[in-house]
Amino acid sequence: MTLPVRLEYFALLREQRGLGAETVQTAASTARDLYRELASAHGFTLAAERVRVAINNEFASWDRPLAANDTIVFIPPVAGG
């Protein structure tokens, strides 16, 4: 069974994905599993431990189960000024 989710990528992840947002069908049950899938598909260089995930405008644990139509944003820290 797969779920439709909306994904948004910030900073380095946007560059490595090559786009800022997309809607995908995923079989992943948690945010961590989803990130792993994406990291291997798109060559993300940041480990999950260095990235934060926000689900529906709230920072969430990587273990949080996904629900249909969640908006999931992956946010690495940035430091430019």
């Binding site: 380095l12 560059e15 800022g20 940041l46 920072f59 000024g81």
Partner: protein, 525 residues
């Protein structure tokens, strides 16, 4: 016989000094001390021909009378009279006269000194200096630093409400009109002290906006020299400033923007030694820096010293903004990302490039956060992180809260003091290396031939440490290189040597070949 105990006047006529002194005649007095301020023929290195004094009379008369009453009470003198000239004066003319009579000379001298110092400090008087070269310039006569030593804040007059007179009140007229600001809010701004750490792309707009809004004290912590490549985004500076210390130029520019504020220069690095004292001096700190090490130091200091820090960070066209308010339950930077990533994994402005408007937007938002905090306005980002993409203009506010496991502000903190350096910039941990990240690097194995049998790295370039010479590397050090040895000590040493030669894309692997072999093993699974 005089019929007054204190009188302050403004006069358009030449002062009759003998007549003024005579008016103070008093049979119970044993002393008359008087002061005359004259127009001299130079100021700030320029030859002056004359002065034109302009005084906002209603406020000057009220403030002048208040100063005289204070002095009479403070020093218990019999009577004081003071007159200030307005209009055109020539060299040698008397611009201000103060006379004090009292029973004994000591009080007379002291009261006289107090009056002239406070007049210089508090009166809304402007003078137009006419220079010998034909030019003329208006100069504000209110000298914030000219107050008498006996002068104390909150005594006799307020530095905030009443000091906002004439030109200064005009300055803020449009924002005072906002019910959310008003005279009371403007007074809070005047009393506020904000430290800007980093006078670059973020600090430039932040500083200008805070200065223009009338934040009374702005500190600039910056040690860099201005470079030409700074100018496209660091709008505090002019092209002619290149090569000058940024802190000095920034202070000059902010003072020119708003002469009524005080700008303090701290030409130092933000580190564990300088920050504790600075966090004790300021109400709010803006993190306008461009590297993780300093950002984490400032974020930690916010919690450790209880001072709100407004943090902005940029990556190409995107930015993040958050306010770490130690009084809120929104948590800190470490609640989001417990430790900084190794430098080199994310990239900075120098490496990835930046359009000036992006820090321009975020620096302005930092100033907005500071003003909201000072004015007590709602909406401070203390429980959210704002992310914005300047291209799509997509903006998100993501709710955050204190993490109970946070090493800094959680229930069992492990960080109790500022840490000078936590991860060496040129060391990488395998935890940070996904197979894709690893693919960026040329791996160079520094182990000797016999060592390589344990945890062999077949694809690595071999450069035994015993023959290693950082001035003549046997590999292309201009491309990303990851140096590996058995445990990470030799590779660290070699990395430092190579970086000293200017090869900045060289990294050392913590844990050496064993750690790397483990990573390959995982990837193969």
């Amino acid at each position: 016989m005089r019929e007054f105990t204190s009188r302050f006047e403004i006069s358009g006529e030449t002062l009759d000094i003998r007549g003024l002194a005579a008016s103070l005649t008093d049979r119970t007095a044993g002393a008359l001390a008087s002061f005359e301020g004259w127009v001299r023929d130079h100021n700030d290195g320029r030859q002056v021909d004359g002065l034109d004094y302009e005084i906002f009379a209603p406020l000057a008369l009220a403030e002048g009378k208040a100063i005289l009453d204070e002095a009479r009470q403070k020093y218990n003198v019999n009577a004081i009279r003071a007159v200030h000239r307005q209009g055109m004066l020539a060299i040698g003319d008397c611009a201000v006269w103060v006379g004090v009579v009292s029973a004994h000379r000591d009080e007379a001298f002291r009261a006289c000194r107090y009056v002239i110092d406070e007049v210089k400090h508090r009166l809304p008087i402007w003078k137009k200096e006419h220079y010998r070269d034909g030019a003329a310039e208006w100069v504000n006569c209110q000298h914030p630093g000219a107050a008498h030593a006996d002068h104390a804040r909150g005594e006799g007059h307020s530095h905030v409400n009443e000091a906002l007179v004439f030109a200064e009140a005009d300055f803020y007229a449009r924002q005072i009109r906002l019910p959310e600001v008003g005279a009371e809010g403007q007074a809070k701004l005047k009393a506020a002290q904000v430290l800007i750490v980093g006078a670059g792309g973020l600090g430039s707009p932040a500083g200008l906006m805070l200065a223009a809004a009338g934040v009374g004290t702005i500190g600039i912590l910056e040690f860099d020299i201005l470079e030409a490549s700074n100018l496209h985004r660091q709008v505090l500076y002019a092209a002619a400033d290149v090569g000058q210390p940024k802190a000095d130029m920034a202070a000059k520019r902010l003072k020119a923007q708003n002469p009524f504020i005080d700008v303090k220069i701290h030409a130092a690095k933000a580190d564990a030694e300088t920050l504790p004292a600075l966090f004790g001096q300021y109400d709010i700190v803006l993190d306008c820096t461009d590297n993780f090490a300093t950002k984490y130091l400032l974020a930690d200091a916010a919690i450790l010293y209880g001072v709100p820090v407004v943090q902005a960070s940029i990556h190409r066209f995107e930015g993040q903004l958050l306010t770490i308010d130690p009084r809120s339950d929104g948590g800190c930077l470490r609640c989001l990302w417990p430790a900084p990533p190794p430098e080199g994994l994310i990239g900075n402005c120098a490496e990835v490039g930046v359009l000036g408007v992006t820090p321009g937007l975020f620096g302005t938002l930092q100033a907005s956060e500071a003003l909201k905090i000072i004015l007590g306005l709602p909406g401070v980002l203390s429980r959210q992180l704002l992310i914005m993409d300047a291209l799509s203009l997509d903006t998100r506010k993501i709710a955050r809260s204190k993490d109970a496991d946070c090493p800094l502000c959680g229930t069992h903190p492990t960080i109790h003091a500022l840490q000078q350096r936590e991860n060496t910039a040129h060391e990488l941990d395998v935890a940070d290396l996904t197979p894709e990240a690893l693919a960026r690097f040329r791996i160079v194995d520094l182990r000797e031939a016999e060592e390589r049998l344990e945890y062999p790295l077949p694809l690595a370039h071999h450069a035994p440490f015993t023959k290693f010479d950082a001035t003549k590397p046997t590999f292309d050090a201009s491309k990303p290189v990851l140096l590996v040895c058995a445990q990470g000590r030799r590779s660290q040493s070699a990395t430092q040597q190579l970086r000293a030669q200017g090869w900045n894309d060289v990294f050392s692997l913590i844990g050496g070949a064993k750690a790397l072999a483990h990573l390959f093993h995982q990837a193969a699974e």
